[in-house]
């Protein structure tokens, strides 16, 4: 029987990126995917007529440009187009527009608060400073602070150097920043509730935490540190939906000679004599390889797909306690036409922005309270976009596709599985909140896909449907991600590696975990590195 150099489990963007860099180095690689389609949560699906749904991840910013360039993703059909601005509808009939143009943004902010408009510059500079600290480490393996290996020491020195270079006051700031809540962070700059609310959304997206929970300031940063063409903080649409990202990486992988197998779910990672031997598929087939790389989250990898006896006890316990909580749902809607929003001026550029329907920090926190009570938010935070306004490929001409990311939505309802009635009620909550601001919206709905965390787990495989493969809190970041001592992509079994978003630097369609893991694997195999270096912020 054939023995591959490497098997990558899961054809999400990280698995594919990992596989592509390994194949580029000349390894014989097979990537196995349980679904009949690739992409994992980076996927475009045709679920209704001629509409294409980015039915999990829906916007693109964090995808590392180094990887884009290195794998020549443009040759494999990827195009990312920035979209502008954000919008918050207010209950009093007003709105708050985060315009793309800085001066218009200033004026609009000043309309709500002159103070906040002038404070925004300092907020941007301070946030960018934290971004710069992190961005340099995205395409690096986190150094182990307890190690005396030369490369760990070198990387630690680099990290320490960057930190010290900030100067005394900014070091204090940084330590506070990494532990505080997004609400506290915004309070340091802004006074106006809707201004704060509109900025706070980035602090809780994908996270089972509220705007007042410690650690959410970092989550805001996680959403700010991406860029489109060097414009840090900008988000864009992948032309053809997010599946275009996975398809392009898969194209690169196959161009390097890699083999892609769909409908090949892994039952078990096979370990023999303390060393990985290959995988056993759900259909009974076994595939052998010298290296196995898991793009699955750590809980699924180690608790579902391995014999527990193959794992060190401490590692097993840490993985069991890894925080990966279902907190977000998704409602994707095919529309017969463009809904109108009477409180928005006709022809406003804000139609092209991401829209939100919650206008106070109080409402943000209340939305989280519902989640803690074991149900979906009755007044949810929705991140709503209509990609068809920019991307002509997602729906028939004149028709539209709407993507609603919904926070919060629990894995279970009061500790038991969702009923179908509840799932429908969850979707209706979302529709109703939008319809409050768009009277013609309901009549335009042709088809709706409602996805709870349980649905996402069932279909994609991510534990609890957590979009980041694990919370982005300080205890689960950098050299603590996924668990201390195992942050360098190596599992405790020889030949087994992790390359999913449970590893540094986390989720968000960066492809950095996949690339970083490839670098480590190639290092161990004494192969030439194919993973690019950080461009580095100048």
């Amino acid at each position: 029987m054939k023995t591959y150099d490497a098997i990558v489990i899961g054809a999400g963007h990280n698995g594919l990126a990992n596989a592509a860099f390994l194949a580029k180095a000349g390894l014989d690689v097979v990537c196995v995917e349980k679904n009949e389609y690739i992409g994992g949560a980076t996927v475009s699906r045709n679920l209704y007529d001629d509409w294409i749904y980015s039915n999990c991840s829906y916007v693109c910013s964090l995808l590392r440009p180094e990887i884009y360039r290195s794998l020549e993703l443009h040759r494999h059909g990827l195009q990312v187009t920035p979209y502008g601005g954000s919008l918050t509808f207010m209950q009093n009939g007003d709105y708050y527009g985060g315009y793309h143009d800085p001066e218009v943004k200033y004026r609009e902010m000043a309309r709500h608060s002159r103070h906040d408009a002038d404070a925004y510059e300092r907020f941007s500079a301070d946030t960018m400073r934290q971004c710069r600290l992190v961005r340099d480490f995205l395409l690096k393996t986190p150094p182990d602070p307890t190690s005396f290996k030369l490369r760990d020491l070198r990387e630690l020195a680099l990290l320490g150097g960057k930190f010290l270079e900030m100067g005394e006051d900014r070091m204090y700031e940084t330590i506070r920043f990494w532990t505080m809540s997004v609400a506290e962070y915004l309070d340091e700059y802004f006074e106006n509730d809707v201004v704060k609310t509109s900025l706070s959304g980035s602090g809780i997206i994908g996270t089972a935490l509220g705007v007042h929970s410690p650690g959410t300031a970092y989550v805001l940063l996680h959403h700010y540190m991406g860029d489109v063409d060097g414009n840090v903080g900008t988000w864009g649409f992948a032309r053809g939906g997010m599946g275009a990202v996975a398809n392009a990486i898969a194209g690169a992988f196959q161009a390097y000679g890699g083999e892609l197998r769909t409908g090949a779910g892994v039952e078990k990672i096979v370990v023999k004599n303390g060393r990985v031997k290959g995988v056993a598929l759900e259909n009974g087939e076994e595939i052998d390889a010298r290296v196995v790389v898991s793009n699955m989250d750590v809980k699924r990898t180690f608790l579902k797909c391995m014999d527990q006896s193959d794992l060190p006890k401490a590692f097993h316990d840490r993985v069991s306690n890894f925080k990966i909580r279902g907190s977000s749902g998704k409602v994707n809607i095919a529309l017969d036409g463009l809904p109108t929003f009477p409180s928005l001026p006709k022809g406003s550029s804000l139609y092209h922005s991401d829209m939100h329907f919650i206008d106070s920090m109080e409402r943000m926190e209340r939305a989280y309270d519902d989640w803690k009570d074991g149900t979906w938010s009755k007044d949810p935070y929705i991140d709503m976009l209509i990609p068809t306004l920019i991307d002509p490929t997602m729906a028939p001409t004149g028709k539209h596709m709407m993507s609603c990311f919904v926070q919060y939505c629990p894995l279970q309802i009061e500790g038991r599985a969702w009923t179908d009635t509840e799932r429908q009620a969850f979707g209706q909550t979302v529709v109703d909140q939008i319809a409050n601001y768009s009277p013609d919206f309901k009549d335009l709905i042709l088809h709706m896909e409602i996805r709870t965390p349980q649905d996402i787990e069932n279909e994609i495989g991510i534990t609890e449907g957590n979009i980041f493969h694990g919370e982005l809190t300080m205890d689960q970041l950098m050299f603590n991600r996924p668990v201390p001592g195992y942050a360098q992509y190596r599992a405790p079994v020889a030949g087994l590696y992790m390359c999913g978003s449970s590893t540094h630097p986390g989720g968000g369609v960066m492809a950095a975990p996949g690339a970083n893991a490839a670098r480590e694997i190639l290092f161990d195999l004494k192969r030439k590195n194919t993973v690019p270096e950080n461009f580095g912020d100048d």
Partner: protein
């Protein structure tokens, strides 16, 4: 009904109609959200209007704050580094204000309009900082950028132009003085201030009277060479005068991301604006420490040999470029009035003492090809252009 959107394009100053009528070039840029002309007919001609007759520049987009209340003086004294007690009603002070690290947030002018009432003008917008600094003071800070229209009226005939407009008693107004006049049923404030290093005034009026003021001014100036000017001409004049520009010669500290990109007043050559006799002002502790330990950077005015402006050039201590650069140029120009190649730059201490020789690496392009020269430069301490007429009181008629 939807709430109308904020203006999506550039704002127009209350003088826009008059500027547009004179404009032949149609080259504008954005200045704090407003349209501001680069030049209206010819930047060079406009520059010579400043040095030879009268140039009129629309400075309405300049950020303006009205500061009043019982604690206005104490508040400003706490805010800025210089002693504001000395600035009596009818006087104007150039000032800088710092953050707690002693780094300059911005520079600007503070007009003591009347007892307890001030106007603060700066290029950048600082309402958040100014209100934060007001805590504990009985003071009101109001933005009046759009409400107050302002023109710089600069040049050797500016006194004559304004006098011809019927402003009596202007002759006794000294540099950094201000006076109120009655005009078109409202108050016109005239200050002997400017950004050109020449004889000149700035005139301030309620926005709704702006066009009336413009018309009266241009009617009075017709025989005295009055011309509207754009930013290019003004920028050249300010470099000759050695004045700093935010985002050129320094960055407002609250906008810097990288460490070490902001500057203290000492590093900008503004030692004279820092008064340690005051018991408390923002940044005092950090500045006192810097005073003891020395600064990192020094702003230099450079008299550079040759005639190639040293835009964006590196500065070296030695002619041979084998050593690391010691700094860089932040503003550069060929000075038409001094016939001198001048520049402002920032160099690492201890370099850049007055009289020091440094070397500037200048690249220039002629017919597509680039040439590099190392030009010798001398650090000077006085402004390049500092004519006696600038401070003569009463001023000569031209």
């Amino acid at each position: 009904m939807s709430i109308q959107e904020v203006p999506q394009g550039r704002l127009r100053s209350p003088f826009y109609s008059r500027l547009q009528a004179l404009d032949t070039l149609n080259t504008w840029h954005e200045w704090k959200g407003y349209s501001s002309a680069d030049a209206l007919y010819c930047a060079e001609t406009e520059y010579f209007a400043i040095r030879n007759a009268t140039g009129v520049f629309d400075l309405t987009p300049m950020t303006k704050y009205r500061i009043s209340g019982p604690d206005a003086l104490d508040y400003l004294d706490r805010l800025v580094t210089r002693d504001m007690q000395k600035i009596k009603p009818g006087r104007v002070a150039y000032a800088v204000w710092c953050d707690d690290q002693g780094q300059v947030i911005d520079d600007g002018t503070i007009f003591h309009l009347r007892e307890g009432e001030y106007r603060l003008c700066s290029q950048e917008r600082h309402f958040a900082w100014l209100t934060a600094a007001a805590i504990g003071f009985d003071v009101s800070v109001v933005v009046e950028t759009a409400e107050v229209a302002a023109l710089a009226v600069q040049g050797p005939t500016s006194f004559t132009v304004l006098s011809s407009m019927g402003l009596e008693g202007l002759a006794t107004l000294k540099p950094f003085g201000l006076r109120h006049f009655e005009f078109a049923g409202t108050e016109l404030m005239v200050s002997r201030t400017g950004y050109t290093g020449d004889l000149g005034y700035e005139v301030w009026i309620a926005a709704e009277k702006a066009e009336l003021l413009w018309d009266a001014l241009f009617a009075a100036g017709q025989l005295h060479g009055i011309r509207a000017i754009g930013t290019h001409a003004l920028d050249l004049a300010r470099i000759e005068a050695g004045y700093l520009a935010a985002f050129e010669d320094f960055l407002p500290a609250d906008t810097t991301v990288r460490t070490g990109r902001s500057r203290s007043p000492f590093e900008l050559g503004l030692d004279w604006l820092v008064d340690f006799k005051k018991p408390n002002f923002n940044g005092r502790k950090a500045l006192a420490e810097e005073k003891r330990n020395g600064s990192t950077w020094r702003l230099v005015k450079l008299d550079i040999e040759g005639n190639k402006p040293a835009h964006h050039a590196y500065i070296y201590a030695k002619e041979k470029r084998n050593k690391k650069e010691i700094g860089f140029i932040t503003s550069a120009a060929w000075s038409p009035v001094c016939k001198q190649n001048v520049a402002l730059g920032t160099v690492r201490m201890p370099h850049g003492k007055t009289g020091d020789t440094v070397w500037v690496e200048i690249f220039y392009q002629r017919e597509m090809h680039w040439t590099r020269v190392m030009a010798k430069a001398v650090v000077v301490d006085k402004p390049f252009w500092f004519p006696p007429r600038r401070s003569l009181t009463p001023p000569d008629p031209y």
